[in-house]
């Protein structure tokens, strides 16, 4: 990359002191990007756009929201009724949470399919896992704020998980609550965390992009870029592609906001929190259901460890284990295009996640208990056994020499899924 020379004297003056123009030129304009990225590569930038929308709507909502147990529910309804366009801001925020997770989950599964976590992108991937954790914490604290029945009981159930910690569990939970049950201090601090965490996510996204720009994007064939013949500049090719993707995302997102705004929400959350009555059926938001299923899969103690402790450990481990994937996957080949067996295994894992989601959405009764346990077992088996063994045993298809060889007609290419 060459250092651009600026002719405009003002730009030149600023750039000499703070090279933002050179930076933009290098990272958004000339930035060499694989020429063969498919639409699955749109979802990283889409998630970023949703994050910005979430922060913007959140800041304006907080101006009219009151984090007090006596007023929180009514203040949210006041936003819906009296604040100018308050209903729009709140529905954008509420549905934006779901859109954020949809975008990020697709982004994660794209990484899994094309082996984007492999060397030298391990740290990039691990930062992504940390972002996912932070998103879950943000979503959970945000869900509590309207102070409906689901808010209150989600807060109660999730914070109670910490009682699983031996000896000091009770003390930790009282510390989290600022009392002896979920109450006003809890609501206040959850509001504080919910406001803080998105900015931490924002900072982490920058680090994520920093790591990305060191070794640059992976691509559908999973071979490194070897020269200019493999790349195109980010602008205008990917700026326009991302802009188009954004238009499609906004169409889906706003269709929910304007025509089915409560699609993702449990009706129970429109009943004000009642600490004396648990709703008959508590469920988390859809994006946490697979993890909820894993939490509930443990029904018996094992090696003197109580079931509750096992469930909590397993739930956190189910996300945390993603961070170890770069080392658990022993295959030398990145893209599933050239890994015929992994391609099957990937879809099996995907279906397993859907099954966990289904189990998490329903009351733990009858066959669902066993189904949840089998699906949980397979979830961990996938990472701990299938990935290491498959990497050694699998006979991969020949990998093309370069990106340009793969996309040129006649070259070896797994064109079938672009």
């Amino acid at each position: 990359m060459t250092t651009p020379t600026w002719t405009n004297p003002i730009i030149k003056w600023i750039d000499y002191r703070l090279p933002i123009f050179t930076f933009t030129q290098h990272h958004l304009v000339e930035y060499p990007t694989p020429k063969n990225l498919n639409y699955w590569w749109n979802f990283g930038s889409l998630a970023g756009v949703v994050l910005v929308i979430m922060i913007a709507t959140g800041i304006f909502l907080s101006m009219s929201y009151t984090p007090h147990v006596d007023y929180a529910f009514d203040s949210v309804e006041r936003i819906m009724r009296d604040v100018n366009y308050g209903w729009l801001l709140r529905y954008l925020h509420m549905n934006g949470g779901s859109m954020f997770f949809i975008a990020v989950y697709i982004h994660v599964f794209r990484g899994l399919y094309y082996g984007s976590y492999k060397a030298p992108r391990e740290i990039l991937w691990i930062i992504g896992v940390i972002i996912l954790f932070a998103m879950m914490a943000t979503a959970f604290t945000g869900y509590v704020l309207p102070w409906g029945q689901m808010s209150f009981w989600a807060a109660t159930v999730i914070t109670n998980m910490f009682t699983a910690v031996p000896l000091v569990g009770e003390a930790i939970v009282n510390w989290l609550w600022g009392g002896f049950a979920v109450g006003n201090p809890t609501l206040n601090r959850f509001f504080s965390f919910h406001y803080l965490l998105p900015f931490i996510i924002f900072a982490l996204v920058f680090v994520h992009l920093w790591a990305l720009h060191v070794h640059k994007s992976n691509n559908p064939v999973g071979v490194d870029m070897k020269g200019p013949q493999d790349t195109i500049p980010f602008h205008p090719y990917y700026t326009i592609k991302d802009a188009y993707g954004m238009g499609v995302l906004m169409l889906v997102y706003l269709a929910f906001v304007f025509f089915a705004p409560n699609f993702f929400l449990e009706p129970d959350n429109y009943i004000e929190a009642n600490p004396l009555q648990t709703p008959p059926h508590i469920v988390p938001e859809w994006y946490l259901m697979p993890f909820y299923a894993i939490l509930r899969a443990f029904t018996q103690e094992f090696l003197w460890i109580p079931a509750k402790v096992l469930g909590v450990i397993a739930m956190f481990a189910s996300v945390g284990i993603l961070a170890l994937l770069p080392w658990l996957d022993t295959s030398k080949v990145r893209s599933a295009r050239f890994r015929p067996i992994y391609k099957q295994v990937f879809w099996l894992f995907f279906v397993d996640c859907l099954v966990l989601g289904y189990v998490g959405a329903n009351p733990p009764e009858g066959y669902l208990i066993l189904l949840g346990q089998v699906a949980t077992a397979y979830y961990f088996l996938h990472f701990l056994v299938v990935m290491p063994v498959l990497g050694i045993m699998e006979k991969t298809r020949p990998v093309p020499d370069s990106i340009s060889a793969a996309v040129t007609p006649g070259g070896t290419s797994g064109k079938e899924d672009t």
């Binding site: 304006f60 604040v83 366009y85 308050g86 801001l89 205008p236």
Partner: protein, 183 residues
């Protein structure tokens, strides 16, 4: 948006079509984004419930001649002063050319004995003194703003000091002889 040099040179017609599309799309996109900003900005304007609380009814029977009360209207103090005949005469007699913000007393009251004002100094928004017994009323017998030394007369008109305008008269009406509706 600038075209980067690495792309090939398309035919001229193709290029002008592309430039046209680029400009229109950018314009539509920018307009859309600008319009989307409005709900955010408007959400900070007074909400419907705030706008609805636009009037306050005040019972003025307990206010003796020479006394004043302060009531709250839209979160602001409103001064209601039952003027003495001396104060009324002084205010009416004042020559307009000597006033920084010329206004006759008759234009500022509906009934001469009742003076109703928004109790906020027109300089920088402090609340002038002079409502309670013992508070300084300034050199003209009305109100005195302690923040920057503005003096108001018995019609609430600015006489001396940095304030540019007379104290504001809110919209009000006597719905009965004994009740005033402010707003």
């Amino acid at each position: 948006m600038t075209e980067t040099a690495t792309t090939g040179t398309p035919a001229d017609a193709e290029k002008s079509r592309r430039d046209f599309l680029l400009v229109t799309t950018s314009t539509v996109g920018v307009v859309g984004t600008a319009l989307a900003a409005w709900p955010f900005i408007d959400s900070m304007n007074p909400a419907a419930d705030v706008r609805a609380l636009s009037s306050t009814d005040v019972d003025i029977t307990p206010i003796e001649v020479g006394q004043a009360i302060t009531v709250v209207w839209r979160g602001k103090p409103v001064f209601i002063r039952h003027r003495t005949s001396k104060e009324i005469d002084e205010s009416a007699a004042m020559a307009l050319e000597d006033l920084p913000d010329p206004e006759t007393d008759a234009d500022r009251v509906k009934k001469p004995e009742w003076l109703i004002l928004v109790g906020i100094c027109t300089h920088l928004g402090c609340i002038p003194l002079g409502q309670r017994k013992g508070e300084p009323k300034g050199e003209y017998g009305g109100w005195f703003c302690p923040c920057h030394g503005s003096h108001y007369d018995t019609s609430g008109r600015i006489r001396r000091g940095p304030a540019p305008k007379n104290l504001t008269v809110p919209t009000y009406a006597f719905i009965e002889d004994t009740t005033v509706r402010v707003g």
